[in-house]
Each structure stands twice: as structure tokens, then as C-alpha cells.
């Protein structure tokens, strides 16, 4: 099974690439535009996918991926299931600071709370951060893009202070508190 590995390609100069994985393909295009427009200091490439594994045909042309973001819509059960099955296609090296979860609609109803707990448990098991975003307004999308860019900068090694992705992820990783565990 071909796994997506983080270090198999050479990085490009002054460029960072982020892969947005979303089952519904709605938020990712808006987020991609915001990401590309906001960052002025370096080039941002965005790849959009529905799920992993990525098509083999694109392997040669695909640049090195610095950050993989899984967009989960908490209103849909299928979204979470698709992310869980995609995780199996990632090399374990990716989880050292190169994977991040972004959830939307975390405040809309009771099923979303249960799914948010499952996402957080999943993220804690893989030592990745979870971001909550509001995707229905332009401001919400821009705010999510700015946060992602901050993480991307570190993952791609662009941060001026010598912060590595591994160091950042150990600070930002999701933790599941004991009262959530007892659910």
C-alpha cells in the first residue's frame, strides 16, 4: 500500500505546500483561496483532495507536502468515517507535526458534540492539534486560513525562530481529559 511520506521529496525554495483533505469538497476551495491570498512572504501551494490515498498518476508532479489538514464536517457521519479510513494511508512519520484536524459546525446540535469527542480522541491518539473553524462567513474562513498558515510556516521550516514541527506539535497536540475518557 503506497503511503504518503513526508520526506521523500526535496523541498522547493521559499515554498510551502498544504494538502486539504475533505470528503464534501465544499470548504476546501474557499479555504484554498484564502490561504493563497493571505500569505505574502512565501509561496503557498494548495492541493485539494477528497480522500487518501492520492492518485498514483499525480505522484511525479506533486510537490513535497508540508502539512496535511483533514477537514471534518461534524454534521455528517460520513465525513468522519472518510477521515478515519484516510489516516491509514499516511506514513507514521507524518504524524510528527505534519498533520492537523480542522472541524466545522462544532456548535450545531447534539450529534456534533459526540463526533467532536471522537475527533479529539483520534487526534490525541495521533498527537495532532484540532482546530475549530466557522466556515459560513468570509471572516471565519479567513481566520481559519490565518491559523493554518501559522502552523504551515512551522511545518515547512519557515519560522524564523528555530521552531520545528515536532516541537510545535508537542505544544499544540490535542489532549483528552479524563472526564472525556469516562464518557
Amino acid at each position: 500500500m503506497a503511503l504518503l511520506t513526508p520526506y521523500s521529496k526535496v523541498p522547493e525554495l521559499n515554498t510551502a505546500t498544504v494538502l486539504l483533505v475533505e470528503n464534501e469538497e465544499e470548504l476546501q476551495s474557499k479555504l484554498a483561496n484564502a490561504l493563497v491570498q493571505y500569505e505574502k512572504d512565501f509561496n503557498v501551494n494548495v492541493r485539494l483532495a477528497r480522500k487518501l490515498p492520492l492518485p498514483v498518476e499525480n505522484k511525479e508532479t506533486r510537490p513535497r507536502i508540508d502539512l496535511i489538514v483533514f477537514l471534518v464536517n461534524l454534521l455528517s457521519e460520513r465525513s468522519l468515517q472518510s477521515v478515519e479510513s484516510s489516516l491509514a494511508h499516511l506514513h507514521s512519520d507524518c504524524f510528527l507535526g505534519k498533520v492537523c484536524f480542522l472541524v466545522t459546525d462544532a456548535r450545531c446540535g447534539s450529534h456534533t458534540q459526540e463526533r467532536l469527542v471522537s475527533v479529539r480522541k483520534l487526534a490525541a491518539a495521533h498527537q495532532c492539534p484540532v482546530l475549530c473553524a466557522e466556515h459560513r462567513t468570509v471572516d471565519g474562513v479567513n481566520a481559519a486560513a490565518v491559523r493554518l498558515l501559522n502552523i504551515l510556516k512551522v511545518s515547512a521550516g519557515m519560522s524564523p525562530i528555530a521552531t520545528t514541527a515536532l516541537y510545535l506539535s508537542s505544544l499544540t497536540r490535542c489532549s483528552v481529559t479524563s472526564d472525556l475518557e469516562e464518557d
Partner: protein, 345 residues
């Protein structure tokens, strides 16, 4: 003018917004230019109705003229009420001179011969469609103009679209249509919508169809947002393929505006869980109903966005392929769990 005429006129004028009344009256051309100028469309409706009635009485107009007005109104606004499609079958050798004139004469002659009191009005529209308005009476009472039936037939096609027909009049209308169009029989088309344009476009294939093609893909009207050079799509090919598949099944937008599709099930229950239901010999009758403000657009979006997996099931693509929206699904043979089949009325 008698009471029936005034009530028909009243009903027409009340239904239209004030700004459209002027155009309608101009098309009608039964009121003089001075009278049209004298009408003030900013007044409340009841005043406009009274003015128009007084002008009609001045010009000595009668029920015939009012029904012409109603017909013009329906031709301009065809998407009202519920229309049903019927299909003519067994076309007999048509004479070379089959024109709308012959159709008209034969249709009227047949119906007048069968019912004593009936009022028929026919009008040929520019796109080869004949509009017929029928007010039914019977052997003893005058025609009722408050519940007319409208029939639209496109010459040289085998479809007839009918609105507001009562069951007891169907036995008169159907033979008249069959004889007048020189066919052998007429059967139910299993298609009903509120919009006449959709009803006409779907079976006559007047929408933008997409045919299977190995090479060129139709351009998608995706948001132009994703044309930034730094944004790349991993599954771009899959997306295009899904889009192509959905447009082949349901047509390119804009597609005919159907509101519902109904599948009547006469199959046996095949679930594993429920003992009492699956052992029965008789059918598990159910009805599956899809509703939407524009059904074909919704189905196309479901397939194109990947919510429904392709290839498109023939049960859904039969809506466009066969031009109907009512299906009866029966069990046929072992192994094949369901197959769409036509139902004779």
C-alpha cells in the same frame, strides 16, 4: 354580460398582478385604445374589474370574448395547475395534407356529436402547438366555464398535455383526440408536473442533452475561484468523470423543472432482520417519492458532487431516458431484484 362571464373575468383579473393586466388587455384587443388609456392600474383590483366590466358592456362583448381572454392568459402563463401527459400510439398512415385545420375540424365535429352542450376553443401557437380550451356541459345543462380543461398538442409529435380534466370527461376527450390525430389509441404518459414547459421539454427532448463521448468533456461551470495557479486538485479527473456521468443521465443545466418522481413498489421484502415481513408471499407495497423544487438539477448535483456513487442507477436515469416520472417497480425473475416496467391504465 351574464354572471358567468363576469365571474370568469373577475377571476382572471384578480389573479394577475396589476402591471401585467395592461399587456394582457392589449393582446386581447377587444377594448379600444381610449378605453385602455382610461384604465388606471394603480387602483385597487375591484375597481379595475368594475371598469373592465363596464367597458366590456359598452363594447357589447360576451362570454366568447372573455373566454378568449382567459385562453390568452393561460397561454402566456402556462406553468399553473397540474399538467398530465398522454401518449398517442399506433399512428395510422397520415394523409399528406394533415394540418392543424383538419385536426381542428375533426376534433370539434366528434365532440359536438357526442355531447350536446360543450364549448371548444382552439388556438394555434407559433411553435406548432395547438391549445384547446374545453368547457364541459352535458345533454341538459350549459357548459361550465369556471372549470375548463386545457389541452395542448404539438402537431407531429405523439404527446398530448392535459390540465384539469375530470374522470367523467376523459371518456369523451380521449376518443376525440385519437380520431382527430389519426392514431389508434392513447395511453397514460406517466408524467405530471406543474410546469408545462418542463412537461413539454422532457419527453420531446428539448433540453441540453449530453451524449457519451470518449474524448471531449463538457466544460463545467465551476466557481472561477479554483483557477489560481497555486491550487491543484488531486482528484480532478474523477471530478470531471462524475460531472460527465451526471450530465449524461440528467442533462446539462438548465434542465426541465420537474418537482417529483414517484416509484410505486410491488416487490417482496428482502431484509434479513425482520422475520415476519420477509416470509410473506404477498408484495411489500411501498411508495418512494422524490420531491424537489427542481428534481433533475438536484439529482445531477448529487451525482456530480459525489454524494451518490456512480454509475447512475437506471431507475433514476429512466426519468430522462423515458420521459416519465411515475414508475411501478416489480420483481422479475430470480437474481434481478427490481426492474422498472410500464403500467397500463
Amino acid at each position: 354580460m351574464d354572471t358567468q362571464a363576469t365571474s370568469v373575468l373577475n377571476r382572471i383579473i384578480r389573479r394577475i398582478p396589476n402591471k401585467n393586466i395592461e399587456n394582457l388587455l392589449k393582446k386581447w384587443s377587444c377594448l379600444s385604445a381610449d378605453q385602455l388609456r382610461a384604465l388606471d392600474y394603480t387602483r385597487p383590483k375591484w375597481m379595475i374589474v368594475e371598469h373592465v366590466i363596464s367597458f366590456c358592456e359598452e363594447n357589447r362583448l360576451n362570454l366568447k370574448h372573455i373566454t378568449t381572454l382567459e385562453m390568452i392568459y393561460h397561454i402566456e402563463n402556462p406553468d399553473q395547475g397540474t399538467w398530465h401527459a398522454c401518449q398517442l400510439a399506433e399512428a395510422q398512415g397520415k394523409s399528406v395534407l394533415f394540418t392543424h385545420f383538419i385536426f381542428k375540424e375533426q376534433f370539434k365535429a366528434h365532440l359536438h356529436g357526442v355531447i350536446r352542450h360543450i364549448s371548444i376553443k382552439m388556438k394555434k401557437h407559433e411553435d406548432e402547438a395547438i391549445w384547446i380550451r374545453i368547457a364541459w356541459g352535458d345533454n341538459f345543462s350549459k357548459p361550465n366555464h369556471l372549470k375548463p380543461t386545457y389541452v395542448v398538442h404539438h402537431l407531429h409529435t405523439s404527446y398530448v398535455f392535459i390540465s384539469n380534466l375530470m374522470a367523467k370527461h376523459k371518456i369523451f376527450l380521449c376518443p376525440a383526440l385519437v380520431i382527430a390525430t389519426k392514431h389508434g389509441s392513447i395511453k397514460d404518459g406517466h408524467l405530471s408536473t406543474r410546469s408545462l414547459t418542463a412537461m413539454r421539454d422532457l419527453p420531446l427532448r428539448r433540453y441540453q442533452q449530453v451524449f457519451p463521448n470518449a474524448h471531449s468533456r463538457i466544460p463545467q461551470e465551476r466557481n472561477t475561484l479554483s483557477s489560481h495557479p497555486c491550487i491543484g486538485k488531486e482528484h480532478g479527473d474523477h471530478e470531471e468523470m462524475r460531472h460527465q456521468m451526471s450530465c449524461e443521465a440528467f442533462g446539462h443545466s438548465p434542465s426541465p423543472k420537474l418537482e417529483t418522481a414517484v416509484y410505486s413498489l410491488e416487490t417482496r421484502y428482502r431484509g434479513k432482520g425482520n422475520q415476519t415481513l420477509s416470509d410473506r408471499k404477498e408484495f411489500f407495497r411501498g411508495v418512494v417519492r422524490f420531491s424537489s423544487s427542481s428534481l433533475l438539477d438536484s439529482l445531477r448535483h448529487c451525482v456530480a458532487s459525489g454524494m451518490a456513487e456512480g454509475p447512475v442507477t437506471p431507475l433514476l436515469s429512466a426519468i430522462t431516458q423515458r420521459g416519465r416520472n411515475y414508475f411501478v417497480i416489480t420483481d422479475k425473475g430470480p437474481g434481478v431484484s427490481s426492474q422498472a416496467s410500464a403500467q397500463r391504465p
